[in-house]
Symmetry: C2
Subunit: 316 residues, 2 copies
DNA sequence: CTGTTAGCGCCTTCAC
DNA sequence: GTGAAGGCGCTAACAG
């Protein structure tokens, strides 16, 4: 041990942890550290340390390469970094079994907490860990089987806002293009927001697949709301191909934050995944800092970015 | 300890690690584990375990929210997962000091190896760790100050191929639009590839900023190669705005893998970041498995995806 | 301010 | 096949 090179033993520990040590001895220790290429073993430390924290948190989502998840991860990292906490990240691939496996692997690595974009339905198996002090924050899906903190994007409000925006520009026949209500919590919320926004109008128009038959049909919509990014691109293409891109109004929901500008631009309901990540991490760390109140729910608002397509007037 | 609930002590260890234990005792232990909510502490284990591995690796890049990094991360995760290895990921933000800080934090967490998309110039401080058995793979930048494995995207070959493609379609005046040669290793390589591809022609045309003066000038190029994704979008826009999008041929370099299709489509030199991540992780694990040969270099080829804009004939 | 001692949770070696 | 003892690297509590 560096004790040989220096002159002390647990003084090394104090130096490493920056506690009050004589300047000369500190220098000696540092020299020995340098010489022997010593690396502090954090894990061994937390085995004995009073708080027992590993300064590690885990993030789990369906697919870590998804730009939404990546941005979320970035936000969480920003607040973790201030505490010298490192982040694990792993993909569940949409499999509840695999999700559980990853969670247990991370728990075995003694993460201090988990930021979970859940796939499975039942997470009651986490109750014991939460009771033991492990942090847990659900993201964008409500924790049904366990009472814990969560953060949300306001999918419903964002979708409603898009519809209100179109109505403010005179539209009444507004189509919703998106996955069905069974495509997960966010999608269902967006559809619900659409319905709320359409309140008082005669007809909801919900399209699941191809938009073309509708817009070329007898009673076409004057505006379209696309509820997800890939669908937004499809709608763009379809309208462009049919020469309707300056005629039918279009607002998209920014499900996946696209990197950089897309040509041509589309009016978007955008949500800030980095901020969502920050909010989630902050919730987690407040628990680790000892906050012990009831489960909290943080809702992050969306922003509507006008880019021209959502501001077209209806053409009859 | 579960020893109380069951009947044994270090038998628990054997059960957890799946070694030969009597079926009855195994059942007893598992019941106790269930009852007490016991979680295996992996870190404590690797303190004493013969190989001493933490089953953890770290990835470090400039920005974990960058879609390229995220896809790379995904690839690495795929191969790590097969070994129940978890991945740390962190952003260096382009700061060498911060990069080093993160690396040392991860080393303190006893990662078995590092996949590094380097920012700093000097990584000689890692030599000792590599000598001690820590894996290290450089990604997309050559390890100058340390002798270690690395994986590359063939930026140079991809760019050359784009130019050859355009030449095969009859072009001779081909402009390079991109960052200068000082914008990092990849960018410099792409410029070099452009120059190689242009060999034998009269004039290299290298543009750093706005393309408009060139294409509206006296001797406009008949084709454009854009060396980076955001620049590709800019070029698309410029050509579209000037009504040249069906006249000037265009090939882009897929620096950042865009999620989903972009409208309108552009012929692209594309590289597979997931495969790059897999390759890097495979190099790392082969070292951890005991491979001890010389430093290897893996080069991943790019693919040219024809989408129409790169196949336009020159118009004089 | 520094050294000593004990023990975190686990795995290994050795006896049985 | 199983139990007992020792120690991985570190920090806490105590004594000096």
């Amino acid at each position: 041990m560096a004790a040989m090179a220096g002159v002390s033993l647990s003084t090394v520990s104090r130096v490493v942890n920056g506690q009050g040590v004589d300047a000369d001895l500190t220098a000696n220790v540092q020299r020995a550290v340098e010489l022997l290429g010593y690396r502090h073993n954090h894990a061994a430390g937390s085995l004995r340390r009073s708080n027992g924290l590993s300064a590690t948190i885990g993030l789990i989502g369906e697919d870590i390469s998804d730009p939404f998840f990546a941005a979320f991860h970035r936000g969480a990292e920003q607040v973790a970094r201030e505490r010298s906490v490192v982040t694990f990240a792993a993909s569940s691939d949409g499999s509840p079994e695999y999700e559980r496996e990853i969670i247990e692997t991370m728990l075995g690595r003694r993460v201090d907490g988990l930021l979970l974009l859940p796939t499975g339905k039942d997470h009651s198996y986490l109750r014991r860990d939460v009771a033991t002090g492990t942090g847990l924050v659900f993201v964008n899906r409500p924790p049904k089987t366990i009472d814990t903190d969560c953060v949300f994007t306001d999918h419903r409000g964002g979708a409603r806002r898009a519809i209100e925006h179109l109505r403010a520009h005179g539209h009444e026949r507004i189509a919703f293009v998106g996955p069905g209500a069974d495509a997960g919590f966010g999608a269902a919320e967006r559809l619900a927001g659409y319905r709320e926004g359409m309140a008082g109008l005669e007809e909801d128009i919900v399209v699941n697949g191809d938009l073309e038959p509708l817009v070329t049909g007898p009673e076409p919509p004057t505006a379209v709301f696309s509820a997800q990014n890939l669908i937004t691109v499809e709608v763009m293409r379809t309208l462009f191909r049919l020469g309707l891109d300056r005629i039918v109004a279009h607002v998209g929901f920014d499900d996946i934050p696209l990197r950089g500008p897309i040509a041509p631009p589309v009016t978007m309901v955008s949500h800030d995944a980095v901020a969502l990540g920050r909010a989630a991490a902050e919730l987690l760390f407040s628990r680790l800092d000892g906050f012990n109140g009831r489960a909290r729910e943080v809702v992050r608002e969306t922003t509507l970015i006008e880019r021209g397509t959502g501001e077209l007037q209806p053409v009859s």
